[in-house]
Amino acid sequence: MHLVDRVKQRDHKAYKELYDLYAKPMYNLCFRFLNHHDDANDVLQESFIKIFENIGQLNNKELLSAWIKRICTNTAIQALKQNKKLKFDELDDQPTMINLHDEDEIIHEEEYQQNLDLVYDAIQKLPDRYRVVFTMHVMEEYSHEEISKMLGIVSGTSRSQYLRAKQKLIEIIKKNKHHGRQIEKIYSAI
Protein backbone atom coordinates (compact mmCIF):
# COMPACT_ATOMS: atom_id res chain seq x y z
CA MET A 1 0.00 0.00 0.00
CA HIS A 2 1.24 3.49 -0.82
CA LEU A 3 2.55 5.62 2.00
CA VAL A 4 -0.13 8.23 1.46
CA ASP A 5 -2.89 5.63 1.72
CA ARG A 6 -1.41 4.30 4.95
CA VAL A 7 -1.24 7.76 6.41
CA LYS A 8 -4.87 8.27 5.39
CA GLN A 9 -5.71 5.09 7.30
CA ARG A 10 -3.99 6.68 10.34
CA ASP A 11 -1.22 4.13 10.46
CA HIS A 12 1.26 5.37 13.08
CA LYS A 13 4.22 3.74 11.36
CA ALA A 14 3.29 5.54 8.17
CA TYR A 15 3.30 8.83 10.04
CA LYS A 16 6.81 8.17 11.20
CA GLU A 17 7.95 7.11 7.72
CA LEU A 18 6.55 10.20 6.15
CA TYR A 19 8.13 12.38 8.81
CA ASP A 20 11.55 10.76 8.44
CA LEU A 21 11.37 11.16 4.69
CA TYR A 22 10.59 14.87 4.66
CA ALA A 23 11.55 16.28 8.05
CA LYS A 24 15.13 17.21 7.24
CA PRO A 25 14.63 18.94 3.87
CA MET A 26 11.54 20.69 5.18
CA TYR A 27 13.33 21.79 8.31
CA ASN A 28 16.10 23.31 6.18
CA LEU A 29 13.48 25.04 4.05
CA CYS A 30 11.91 26.51 7.20
CA PHE A 31 15.29 27.50 8.56
CA ARG A 32 16.24 29.31 5.35
CA PHE A 33 13.01 31.28 5.60
CA LEU A 34 13.13 32.07 9.30
CA ASN A 35 16.87 32.01 9.99
CA HIS A 36 16.17 30.87 13.55
CA HIS A 37 16.23 27.31 14.86
CA ASP A 38 13.43 27.57 17.41
CA ASP A 39 11.13 29.28 14.92
CA ALA A 40 12.00 26.69 12.28
CA ASN A 41 11.16 23.84 14.69
CA ASP A 42 7.83 25.44 15.55
CA VAL A 43 6.95 25.95 11.90
CA LEU A 44 7.95 22.40 11.01
CA GLN A 45 5.78 21.04 13.82
CA GLU A 46 2.79 23.10 12.71
CA SER A 47 3.38 22.10 9.09
CA PHE A 48 3.45 18.39 9.84
CA ILE A 49 0.29 18.63 11.90
CA LYS A 50 -1.38 20.27 8.91
CA ILE A 51 0.05 17.62 6.61
CA PHE A 52 -1.21 14.72 8.72
CA GLU A 53 -4.61 16.24 9.32
CA ASN A 54 -5.26 17.28 5.73
CA ILE A 55 -3.65 14.48 3.81
CA GLY A 56 -7.13 13.25 3.01
CA GLN A 57 -7.41 16.13 0.55
CA LEU A 58 -4.43 14.91 -1.46
CA ASN A 59 -5.82 12.97 -4.35
CA ASN A 60 -2.77 12.74 -6.57
CA LYS A 61 -0.07 10.83 -4.72
CA GLU A 62 2.60 11.95 -7.19
CA LEU A 63 2.23 15.48 -5.92
CA LEU A 64 3.05 14.58 -2.32
CA SER A 65 6.48 16.28 -2.29
CA ALA A 66 5.22 19.47 -3.88
CA TRP A 67 2.19 19.49 -1.59
CA ILE A 68 4.30 19.09 1.55
CA LYS A 69 6.75 21.72 0.36
CA ARG A 70 3.90 24.10 -0.35
CA ILE A 71 2.42 23.64 3.13
CA CYS A 72 5.80 24.25 4.79
CA THR A 73 6.48 27.29 2.62
CA ASN A 74 3.09 28.84 3.35
CA THR A 75 3.39 28.16 7.07
CA ALA A 76 6.85 29.72 7.16
CA ILE A 77 5.64 32.79 5.25
CA GLN A 78 2.71 33.08 7.65
CA ALA A 79 5.08 32.93 10.62
CA LEU A 80 7.32 35.57 9.08
CA LYS A 81 4.36 37.86 8.47
CA GLN A 82 3.12 37.33 12.02
CA ASN A 83 6.54 38.32 13.34
CA LYS A 84 6.40 41.35 11.03
CA LYS A 85 9.75 40.38 9.59
CA LEU A 86 8.53 40.30 6.03
CA LYS A 87 7.98 43.81 4.72
CA PHE A 88 8.34 44.92 1.16
CA ASP A 89 8.85 48.63 0.57
CA GLU A 90 7.59 50.63 -2.37
CA LEU A 91 11.20 50.99 -3.48
CA ASP A 92 11.30 47.23 -3.95
CA ASP A 93 9.04 47.58 -6.98
CA GLN A 94 11.56 49.70 -8.83
CA PRO A 95 13.76 47.90 -11.36
CA THR A 96 17.23 47.05 -10.23
CA MET A 97 20.45 47.29 -12.20
CA ILE A 98 22.87 44.65 -11.12
CA ASN A 99 26.60 45.09 -11.63
CA LEU A 100 27.50 41.98 -13.57
CA HIS A 101 31.19 42.59 -13.13
CA ASP A 102 30.77 41.63 -9.49
CA GLU A 103 29.71 38.19 -10.54
CA ASP A 104 32.57 37.90 -13.04
CA GLU A 105 35.04 37.98 -10.24
CA ILE A 106 33.73 34.68 -8.87
CA ILE A 107 32.42 33.27 -12.07
CA HIS A 108 34.02 29.84 -12.02
CA GLU A 109 31.91 27.08 -10.57
CA GLU A 110 34.95 25.51 -9.07
CA GLU A 111 35.40 28.61 -7.06
CA TYR A 112 31.81 28.42 -5.88
CA GLN A 113 32.38 24.82 -4.97
CA GLN A 114 35.40 25.72 -2.95
CA ASN A 115 33.44 28.43 -1.26
CA LEU A 116 30.27 26.50 -0.52
CA ASP A 117 30.43 27.46 3.11
CA LEU A 118 30.82 31.08 2.14
CA VAL A 119 27.70 30.90 -0.02
CA TYR A 120 25.80 29.12 2.70
CA ASP A 121 26.77 31.73 5.29
CA ALA A 122 26.10 34.56 2.86
CA ILE A 123 22.52 33.38 2.28
CA GLN A 124 21.90 33.46 6.02
CA LYS A 125 23.24 37.00 6.20
CA LEU A 126 20.80 38.34 3.62
CA PRO A 127 17.98 40.62 4.84
CA ASP A 128 14.71 38.74 5.39
CA ARG A 129 12.89 39.87 2.26
CA TYR A 130 15.90 39.19 0.04
CA ARG A 131 16.54 35.81 1.63
CA VAL A 132 12.94 34.69 1.30
CA VAL A 133 12.66 35.56 -2.38
CA PHE A 134 16.12 34.19 -3.17
CA THR A 135 15.43 30.94 -1.34
CA MET A 136 12.05 30.49 -2.96
CA HIS A 137 13.37 31.13 -6.46
CA VAL A 138 16.75 29.40 -6.33
CA MET A 139 16.43 26.67 -3.72
CA GLU A 140 12.75 25.78 -4.00
CA GLU A 141 12.55 26.63 -7.69
CA TYR A 142 9.33 28.61 -7.60
CA SER A 143 8.73 30.98 -10.49
CA HIS A 144 8.40 34.71 -9.84
CA GLU A 145 4.68 34.46 -10.57
CA GLU A 146 4.27 31.76 -7.94
CA ILE A 147 6.36 33.72 -5.47
CA SER A 148 4.31 36.87 -6.04
CA LYS A 149 1.10 34.96 -5.35
CA MET A 150 2.41 33.33 -2.20
CA LEU A 151 3.88 36.53 -0.79
CA GLY A 152 1.09 38.81 -1.97
CA ILE A 153 3.36 41.01 -4.05
CA VAL A 154 3.63 41.76 -7.76
CA SER A 155 5.94 39.60 -9.87
CA GLY A 156 8.08 42.65 -10.66
CA THR A 157 8.82 43.03 -6.98
CA SER A 158 9.83 39.40 -6.79
CA ARG A 159 12.22 39.83 -9.71
CA SER A 160 13.78 42.99 -8.35
CA GLN A 161 14.13 41.42 -4.92
CA TYR A 162 15.86 38.43 -6.43
CA LEU A 163 18.34 40.59 -8.34
CA ARG A 164 19.10 42.66 -5.26
CA ALA A 165 19.46 39.53 -3.18
CA LYS A 166 21.91 38.13 -5.69
CA GLN A 167 23.89 41.35 -5.77
CA LYS A 168 24.00 41.48 -2.00
CA LEU A 169 24.99 37.83 -1.83
CA ILE A 170 27.95 38.35 -4.14
CA GLU A 171 28.99 41.35 -2.10
CA ILE A 172 28.95 39.30 1.09
CA ILE A 173 30.82 36.42 -0.52
CA LYS A 174 33.46 38.78 -1.86
CA LYS A 175 33.82 40.46 1.47
CA ASN A 176 34.13 37.21 3.37
CA LYS A 177 36.47 35.78 0.75
CA HIS A 178 38.76 38.81 0.99
CA HIS A 179 38.61 38.63 4.75
CA GLY A 180 39.47 34.92 4.58
CA ARG A 181 42.47 35.57 2.39
CA GLN A 182 43.71 38.21 4.78
CA ILE A 183 43.43 35.73 7.64
CA GLU A 184 45.26 33.11 5.56
CA LYS A 185 48.05 35.61 4.92
CA ILE A 186 48.26 36.44 8.60
CA TYR A 187 48.42 32.74 9.53
CA SER A 188 51.04 31.99 6.83
CA ALA A 189 53.15 34.90 8.04
CA ILE A 190 53.08 33.52 11.52
Binding site: E53, I55, G56, Y112, K166
Partner: protein
Protein backbone atom coordinates in the same frame (compact mmCIF):
# COMPACT_ATOMS: atom_id res chain seq x y z
CA UNK B 1 23.64 36.08 -19.10
CA UNK B 2 23.70 32.66 -17.59
CA UNK B 3 22.89 32.63 -13.89
CA UNK B 4 25.79 30.54 -12.69
CA UNK B 5 25.18 31.16 -9.04
CA UNK B 6 21.64 29.88 -9.37
CA UNK B 7 22.74 26.80 -11.28
CA UNK B 8 25.45 26.07 -8.78
CA UNK B 9 23.13 26.29 -5.79
CA UNK B 10 20.46 24.17 -7.45
CA UNK B 11 23.00 21.54 -8.36
CA UNK B 12 24.39 21.34 -4.87
CA UNK B 13 21.07 21.74 -3.09
CA UNK B 14 21.47 18.71 -0.86
CA UNK B 15 24.67 20.14 0.51
CA UNK B 16 22.71 23.12 1.71
CA UNK B 17 20.44 20.93 3.83
CA UNK B 18 22.78 20.89 6.78
CA UNK B 19 20.44 21.55 9.67
CA UNK B 20 18.57 18.92 11.66
CA UNK B 21 15.22 19.32 13.43
CA UNK B 22 14.88 18.64 17.15
CA UNK B 23 14.92 14.89 17.83
CA UNK B 24 11.75 14.99 19.92
CA UNK B 25 9.78 16.93 17.33
CA UNK B 26 7.89 13.92 15.97
CA UNK B 27 6.64 13.03 19.46
CA UNK B 28 5.45 16.57 19.95
CA UNK B 29 3.61 16.44 16.65
CA UNK B 30 1.91 13.22 17.68
CA UNK B 31 0.98 14.70 21.05
CA UNK B 32 -0.68 17.65 19.36
CA UNK B 33 -2.61 15.50 16.95
CA UNK B 34 -5.92 13.89 17.61
CA UNK B 35 -5.03 10.43 16.32
CA UNK B 36 -8.17 8.78 17.59
CA UNK B 37 -10.23 10.22 14.77
CA UNK B 38 -11.74 8.13 12.06
CA UNK B 39 -9.78 7.58 8.83
CA UNK B 40 -9.66 10.63 6.66
CA UNK B 41 -11.75 10.93 3.55
CA UNK B 42 -10.80 13.52 0.96
CA UNK B 43 -12.04 16.95 1.90
CA UNK B 44 -14.53 15.76 4.48
CA UNK B 45 -12.91 16.86 7.71
CA UNK B 46 -11.96 20.38 6.69
CA UNK B 47 -15.39 21.05 5.25
CA UNK B 48 -17.16 19.74 8.34
CA UNK B 49 -14.98 21.89 10.60
CA UNK B 50 -15.74 24.93 8.51
CA UNK B 51 -19.40 24.08 8.49
CA UNK B 52 -19.36 23.77 12.27
CA UNK B 53 -17.97 27.24 12.67
CA UNK B 54 -20.34 28.63 10.10
CA UNK B 55 -23.24 27.00 11.90
CA UNK B 56 -22.10 28.39 15.27
CA UNK B 57 -21.67 31.85 13.81
CA UNK B 58 -25.05 31.72 12.08
CA UNK B 59 -26.80 30.51 15.24
CA UNK B 60 -25.27 33.21 17.39
CA UNK B 61 -26.09 35.88 14.83
CA UNK B 62 -29.69 34.64 14.71
CA UNK B 63 -29.95 34.58 18.49
CA UNK B 64 -28.53 38.07 18.88
CA UNK B 65 -30.75 39.52 16.18
CA UNK B 66 -33.81 37.87 17.74
CA UNK B 67 -32.97 39.27 21.15
CA UNK B 68 -32.41 42.69 19.66
CA UNK B 69 -35.67 42.52 17.78
CA UNK B 70 -37.64 41.43 20.82
CA UNK B 71 -36.14 43.64 23.48
CA UNK B 72 -34.85 46.75 21.81
CA UNK B 73 -37.27 47.37 19.02
CA UNK B 74 -40.23 47.78 21.36
CA UNK B 75 -41.51 51.23 20.61
CA UNK B 76 -43.70 52.95 23.18
CA UNK B 77 -47.37 52.79 22.39
CA UNK B 78 -48.90 56.20 22.01
CA UNK B 79 -52.60 56.64 22.43
CA UNK B 80 -53.44 59.05 19.74
CA UNK B 81 -57.05 59.74 20.55
CA UNK B 82 -56.73 60.30 24.25
CA UNK B 83 -56.82 63.89 25.33
CA UNK B 84 -54.34 63.69 28.09
CA UNK B 85 -52.24 66.34 29.67
CA UNK B 86 -49.97 66.10 32.61
CA UNK B 87 -51.46 68.58 34.94
CA UNK B 88 -49.44 69.20 38.02
CA UNK B 89 -46.14 67.58 37.13
CA UNK B 90 -44.21 70.70 36.46
CA UNK B 91 -41.06 72.01 38.04
CA UNK B 92 -38.42 74.38 36.81
CA UNK B 93 -34.69 74.18 37.33
CA UNK B 94 -35.10 75.40 40.84
CA UNK B 95 -36.61 73.32 43.56
CA UNK B 96 -40.06 74.32 42.67
CA UNK B 97 -43.12 72.54 43.76
CA UNK B 98 -45.79 73.47 41.41
CA UNK B 99 -49.12 72.68 42.76
CA UNK B 100 -52.14 72.15 40.78
CA UNK B 101 -54.72 74.63 41.63
CA UNK B 102 -57.71 74.83 39.56
CA UNK B 103 -58.92 78.27 39.13
CA UNK B 104 -62.43 79.16 38.49
CA UNK B 105 -63.62 78.23 35.10
CA UNK B 106 -64.03 80.80 32.50
CA UNK B 107 -67.35 80.04 31.04
CA UNK B 108 -67.36 83.11 28.83
CA UNK B 109 -64.25 82.03 27.01
CA UNK B 110 -65.25 78.41 27.41
CA UNK B 111 -61.82 77.67 28.76
CA UNK B 112 -60.81 76.11 31.93
CA UNK B 113 -57.74 77.45 33.59
CA UNK B 114 -55.03 75.61 35.33
CA UNK B 115 -53.21 77.71 37.78
CA UNK B 116 -49.76 76.55 38.52
CA UNK B 117 -47.89 78.19 41.27
CA UNK B 118 -44.30 77.97 42.21
CA UNK B 119 -43.40 76.40 45.50
CA UNK B 120 -41.76 77.89 48.51
CA UNK B 121 -38.18 77.67 47.35
CA UNK B 122 -38.09 79.85 44.30
CA UNK B 123 -34.40 80.52 43.78
CA UNK B 124 -33.89 79.86 40.12
CA UNK B 125 -30.21 78.99 40.23
CA UNK B 126 -30.42 76.23 42.78
CA UNK B 127 -29.89 72.55 42.17
CA UNK B 128 -32.81 71.10 40.27
CA UNK B 129 -35.09 68.80 42.13
CA UNK B 130 -38.15 67.61 40.39
CA UNK B 131 -41.08 66.76 42.46
CA UNK B 132 -44.06 65.37 40.84
CA UNK B 133 -47.40 65.93 42.31
CA UNK B 134 -50.30 64.47 40.60
CA UNK B 135 -53.80 63.78 41.57
CA UNK B 136 -55.82 61.04 40.12
CA UNK B 137 -59.27 62.24 40.68
CA UNK B 138 -61.03 60.32 38.01
CA UNK B 139 -63.75 59.10 40.28
CA UNK B 140 -64.69 62.34 41.95
CA UNK B 141 -64.62 65.24 39.65
CA UNK B 142 -66.64 68.24 40.56
CA UNK B 143 -68.02 69.53 37.37
CA UNK B 144 -66.99 73.16 37.50
CA UNK B 145 -64.14 73.31 39.96
CA UNK B 146 -61.71 70.71 38.81
CA UNK B 147 -59.96 69.80 35.63
CA UNK B 148 -61.49 67.11 33.52
CA UNK B 149 -60.15 63.67 34.31
CA UNK B 150 -58.22 63.58 31.10
CA UNK B 151 -56.07 66.41 32.39
CA UNK B 152 -55.31 64.68 35.65
CA UNK B 153 -53.97 61.51 34.18
CA UNK B 154 -50.36 60.57 34.88
CA UNK B 155 -49.54 60.16 31.24
CA UNK B 156 -46.63 62.22 30.09
CA UNK B 157 -47.94 62.96 26.64
CA UNK B 158 -49.90 66.04 25.87
CA UNK B 159 -51.87 65.91 22.70
CA UNK B 160 -54.45 68.45 23.54
CA UNK B 161 -53.34 72.05 23.29
CA UNK B 162 -53.35 73.90 26.53
CA UNK B 163 -53.00 77.62 26.78
CA UNK B 164 -50.88 78.80 29.62
CA UNK B 165 -50.46 82.33 30.72
CA UNK B 166 -47.94 83.78 33.12
CA UNK B 167 -49.91 86.16 35.18
CA UNK B 168 -46.98 88.55 35.71
CA UNK B 169 -46.38 88.70 32.00
CA UNK B 170 -49.76 88.67 30.41
CA UNK B 171 -48.47 89.34 26.88
CA UNK B 172 -46.70 86.03 26.68
CA UNK B 173 -48.93 83.57 24.91
CA UNK B 174 -46.94 80.43 25.32
CA UNK B 175 -45.13 79.28 28.33
CA UNK B 176 -43.59 75.97 29.08
CA UNK B 177 -42.67 74.52 32.37
CA UNK B 178 -40.39 71.59 32.41
CA UNK B 179 -39.30 69.10 34.92
CA UNK B 180 -35.55 69.40 35.10
CA UNK B 181 -35.35 65.75 35.91
CA UNK B 182 -33.70 64.34 32.84
CA UNK B 183 -35.99 61.37 32.66
CA UNK B 184 -39.19 63.27 32.76
CA UNK B 185 -39.66 66.14 30.42
CA UNK B 186 -43.13 67.43 30.38
CA UNK B 187 -44.34 70.26 28.36
CA UNK B 188 -47.44 72.28 28.35
CA UNK B 189 -48.11 73.86 25.05
CA UNK B 190 -50.63 76.55 24.53
CA UNK B 191 -52.27 77.29 21.32
CA UNK B 192 -55.94 77.92 21.49
CA UNK B 193 -56.71 78.14 17.84
CA UNK B 194 -54.39 75.51 16.51
CA UNK B 195 -55.06 71.80 16.81
CA UNK B 196 -51.46 70.81 16.17
CA UNK B 197 -49.90 68.47 18.65
CA UNK B 198 -47.91 70.20 21.31
CA UNK B 199 -44.18 70.36 20.66
CA UNK B 200 -41.98 69.20 23.44
CA UNK B 201 -39.55 71.36 25.37
CA UNK B 202 -36.63 69.88 23.57
CA UNK B 203 -38.11 70.90 20.24
CA UNK B 204 -38.36 74.53 21.28
CA UNK B 205 -35.46 75.66 23.42
CA UNK B 206 -36.71 79.25 23.63
CA UNK B 207 -39.61 78.01 25.71
CA UNK B 208 -37.25 76.56 28.23
CA UNK B 209 -35.50 79.88 28.46
CA UNK B 210 -38.75 81.58 29.15
CA UNK B 211 -39.42 79.25 32.03
CA UNK B 212 -36.00 79.79 33.50
CA UNK B 213 -36.64 83.51 33.40
CA UNK B 214 -39.84 83.24 35.39
CA UNK B 215 -39.90 85.63 38.31
CA UNK B 216 -40.54 84.55 41.84
CA UNK B 217 -44.12 83.85 42.63
CA UNK B 218 -45.01 83.75 39.00
CA UNK B 219 -48.12 81.90 38.17
CA UNK B 220 -48.73 79.92 35.10
CA UNK B 221 -52.27 79.62 34.12
CA UNK B 222 -52.93 77.06 31.49
CA UNK B 223 -56.18 77.25 29.73
CA UNK B 224 -57.81 74.34 28.10
CA UNK B 225 -60.19 74.88 25.27
CA UNK B 226 -62.66 72.33 26.48
CA UNK B 227 -66.20 73.38 26.81
CA UNK B 228 -68.03 72.57 30.02
CA UNK B 229 -70.87 71.17 28.07
CA UNK B 230 -68.68 68.61 26.36
CA UNK B 231 -66.95 67.31 29.47
CA UNK B 232 -69.00 64.16 29.76
CA UNK B 233 -68.49 63.37 26.09
CA UNK B 234 -64.75 63.79 26.38
CA UNK B 235 -64.73 61.57 29.45
CA UNK B 236 -66.53 58.83 27.58
CA UNK B 237 -64.20 59.20 24.62
CA UNK B 238 -61.19 58.98 26.80
CA UNK B 239 -62.44 55.82 28.49
CA UNK B 240 -63.15 54.22 25.12
CA UNK B 241 -59.78 55.11 23.79
CA UNK B 242 -58.10 53.76 26.91
CA UNK B 243 -59.96 50.48 26.47
CA UNK B 244 -58.92 50.30 22.84
CA UNK B 245 -55.33 51.00 23.77
CA UNK B 246 -55.36 48.24 26.37
CA UNK B 247 -56.74 45.80 23.81
CA UNK B 248 -54.03 46.79 21.35
CA UNK B 249 -51.37 46.32 24.01
CA UNK B 250 -52.70 42.89 24.89
CA UNK B 251 -52.67 41.90 21.23
CA UNK B 252 -49.12 43.12 20.85
CA UNK B 253 -48.04 41.24 23.96
CA UNK B 254 -49.63 38.00 22.80
CA UNK B 255 -47.99 38.40 19.38
CA UNK B 256 -44.63 39.04 21.00
CA UNK B 257 -45.09 36.05 23.23
CA UNK B 258 -45.92 33.82 20.27
CA UNK B 259 -42.94 35.03 18.30
CA UNK B 260 -40.62 34.54 21.26
CA UNK B 261 -41.88 31.04 21.93
CA UNK B 262 -41.56 30.11 18.27
CA UNK B 263 -38.04 31.42 17.86
CA UNK B 264 -36.64 30.12 21.12
CA UNK B 265 -38.36 26.78 20.65
CA UNK B 266 -36.81 26.47 17.20
CA UNK B 267 -33.39 27.41 18.53
CA UNK B 268 -33.64 24.95 21.40
CA UNK B 269 -34.61 22.11 19.11
CA UNK B 270 -32.12 22.74 16.34
CA UNK B 271 -29.10 24.23 18.07
CA UNK B 272 -27.32 20.89 18.39
CA UNK B 273 -28.15 19.87 14.84
CA UNK B 274 -26.99 23.18 13.40
CA UNK B 275 -23.75 23.30 15.35
CA UNK B 276 -22.72 19.68 15.27
CA UNK B 277 -23.35 18.99 18.95
CA UNK B 278 -21.28 21.98 20.07
CA UNK B 279 -24.02 24.43 21.06
CA UNK B 280 -27.10 23.55 23.07
CA UNK B 281 -29.86 25.95 23.96
CA UNK B 282 -32.46 24.96 26.54
CA UNK B 283 -35.55 27.04 26.75
CA UNK B 284 -37.30 26.83 30.12
CA UNK B 285 -40.57 28.71 30.08
CA UNK B 286 -42.89 28.20 32.99
CA UNK B 287 -45.32 30.85 31.92
CA UNK B 288 -43.99 33.57 34.15
CA UNK B 289 -40.46 33.84 32.86
CA UNK B 290 -38.14 32.50 30.19
CA UNK B 291 -34.58 31.37 30.70
CA UNK B 292 -32.30 30.40 27.84
CA UNK B 293 -29.53 28.11 29.02
CA UNK B 294 -26.70 28.32 26.49
CA UNK B 295 -23.99 25.72 26.54
CA UNK B 296 -21.13 25.73 24.03
CA UNK B 297 -18.45 23.07 24.05
CA UNK B 298 -15.78 22.13 21.56
CA UNK B 299 -12.29 20.66 21.79
CA UNK B 300 -10.77 23.77 23.31
CA UNK B 301 -13.38 25.74 25.20
CA UNK B 302 -16.57 25.20 27.12
CA UNK B 303 -18.93 28.03 27.98
CA UNK B 304 -22.20 27.95 29.89
CA UNK B 305 -24.49 30.93 30.27
CA UNK B 306 -28.03 31.37 31.48
CA UNK B 307 -29.90 34.29 30.05
CA UNK B 308 -33.00 35.35 31.91
CA UNK B 309 -35.33 36.92 29.44
CA UNK B 310 -37.98 37.88 31.93
CA UNK B 311 -41.61 37.26 31.38
CA UNK B 312 -43.35 37.23 28.07
CA UNK B 313 -45.21 40.22 27.00
CA UNK B 314 -43.52 42.62 29.36
Amino acid sequence: MEDKLKKFIQRSKTEFNREEPRPDLFDKIMENMDTEQTPLVAGKKLISTRMNWLAVAASLALLISCCWFLFYSNKPIYIQNTQVASGPIITTKNQAIITNEISSTSTAGKEQDIQIEKGTNNKTDQTPVAQLKSKNNRTAIPSNERLPAILQSNSLTAHKPIQSIITDEPKVNEQIAETSNSDQKISLQSNVTSNDPAPSMTQNPTMANQVSRMPEGAKIIASLPVANSSKSESLQKSKKSEDLAEEDTEQDNSLQSTIKKGIFGFLSKNAKKLTGNTLSIKNSDNGDYTVLALHYKNDKIEISKDINLGSFGE
